[in-house]
Symmetry: C2
């Protein structure tokens, strides 16, 4: 028999070393025309895709290949977490230069495998081709108990707004990475947050299963931009208390607030909590790493409260590839 | 309230006019972090992704935008057909230059909507961003009755090989399109086969539901390359009868055979049929547009029988982006 084609050999290399398929609900993985998947009984399937493109989302010379591998899966999995679901398997679509099928690919796959194991997410297939620039698109398939998915569109006036973690750290980490010209000190927490974000799967699931959230989404393009999306989907407005924003540590307060409002790439959760659930939530808060930042309003405006009665309009300043 | 962001406005435009979500099993479509999907009871989910890249898979100046829209969905749906399944919904991942958000996008969406309606396949989400070159990746989600999916790996020695339609027509159509410098005569059947392929969904499903096929895949990179893949997956070899190949009409016989063996982009089906099912299949063949082309062998070689006892090795000559 002749050898497998060069493409098939590459695909074989790519598929090795990921979490086992059966545990992830995958009956048939990579190597056939398509994959076969089934969620657990009583669960429905969640589907999401994300671009991760050289030049737009990462830079070949700045970002270590293992970070590219980690992040392309982590950021797509974050959309599953934002529905209250659990990522289970993914399709990797990879287009790379022929010159990058060696060391670059090995390191990329190393980061991807680490993320897959961290998330217990199996590689179920995808498509591989050649391209001058590195192009990545990841589809993540997850599951959520029927009727428990938390949408963007459920926020109601007087719901309180919470966010997880610290916002703006990833943006600050990107700046520090640029200043360091790509040399990564592995113990720099903000750079690590930019390179290896951890989607809030356990937190999202806990909030959904306990029906704490009326609306939820992940903050990927910056709070100001993503909050606008939640408010539009829900037909409401919101006010954010600037003083309550959990921004990055070690920077001046005004800069920290700007980073927290507009910095992208955090993959934290934005959560609307109905007033009647707040007390129950607060009893369970310790150790959960979420903080109050504002409230949903009936008036369809985005406002920033700066304290002492001063309120201004909150202008979306997050990431948008089509903004002029 | 402020306006939606430019990206969100674009996404809104993209999502209009596709088949209805509930009929396709989609509980929640585009516009949230992710989509929610559930197949009918007794079915499992099929997942597949395909690249469709400017420069590799199509040319901006040669291929009409509505063909790009049609084909990006049709070719991914073909992988679902090749499992014996039915495409149900898809995620569109689109990266386009800002200049292409007008007329080009409208025509692209026109072709995509036509394909979606033809396939009864709903738009369930995806990701949109900006890029100098047009990048497309489509994930198609389908369903198949549990236990009825037909894999590549089931071919057994002495199974007969069949293919659907005429092979090599799409390759010939591409050549004619190049000669005509992109001016498409809409009634040219080979050019239309290249521009608007129709995946064999009904045929694939019929073969799977009646258990006629031991192995099946779609022929996207050329018969010689895809047959190698089926044989490797099944641990067998095959012999193809050159004289039996249904090549394009109106070209010399030797050229027609070459086109049928190595031409890509046909999205026809390659089907292995167990000897004991052949009689039953043949009774149902009339009108089904499939033809006998060869047989599976125990000996792990790919052979081409040229008649009068002359047999030579069949060298995979189909499309492979990583072949030097």
């Amino acid at each position: 028999m002749r050898e497998p084609t060069p493409e098939d050999k590459l695909v074989g290399r790519i598929c090795r070393g990921f979490p086992a398929l059966p545990q992830a609900g995958v009956r048939l993985g990579a190597g056939d025309d398509a994959a076969l998947w089934q969620p657990r009984r009583g669960y429905e399937t969640i589907l999401t895709s994300d671009w991760f493109l050289e030049g737009s989302h990462f830079l070949r010379d700045l970002h270590p290949p293992d970070s590219v591998g980690w992040k392309c899966l982590a950021r797509a999995a974050s959309d599953i977490a934002a529905m209250g679901g659990t990522p289970r398997c993914f399709l990797l679509n990879l287009a790379i230069p022929a010159l990058h099928t060696g060391k670059w690919l090995d390191e990329f796959l190393g980061g991807l495998r680490r993320a897959a194991r961290f998330l217990k997410c199996a590689m179920a297939g995808g498509d591989t081709t050649k391209n001058e620039r590195i192009l990545i698109n990841v589809t993540v398939v997850g599951e959520v108990a029927k009727g428990y998915a938390v949408l963007r569109s459920g926020a109601q006036p007087d719901d309180l707004l919470f966010v997880s973690g610290r916002l703006g750290e990833a943006e600050l980490g990107l700046r520090e990475l640029q200043l360091s010209k790509g040399s990564v000190r592995k113990n720099n927490a903000t750079i690590r947050k930019h390179l290896y974000p951890k989607p809030r799967v356990a937190l999202g699931r806990w909030l959904a299963e306990n029906r704490f959230a009326s609306a939820m989404m992940d903050i990927s393009d910056g709070l100001s931009t993503d909050l606008l999306r939640m408010c539009e989907a829900s037909g409401v407005g919101a006010v954010i208390a600037e003083g309550a924003l959990p921004g990055p540590k070690g920077v001046p307060a005004s800069e920290a607030a700007k980073l927290a409002l507009h910095g992208g790439d955090d993959y934290e959760l934005l959560i609307a909590v109905p007033a009647k659930a707040v007390k129950r939530l607060k009893r369970n808060l310790p150790g959960r790493d979420i903080e109050f930042v504002g409230a949903i309003t009936k008036r369809k405006k985005l406002l920033l409260s700066k304290g002492e009665g001063i309120t201004e309009e909150l202008v979306p300043g997050g990431w948008d590839p089509f903004r002029k």
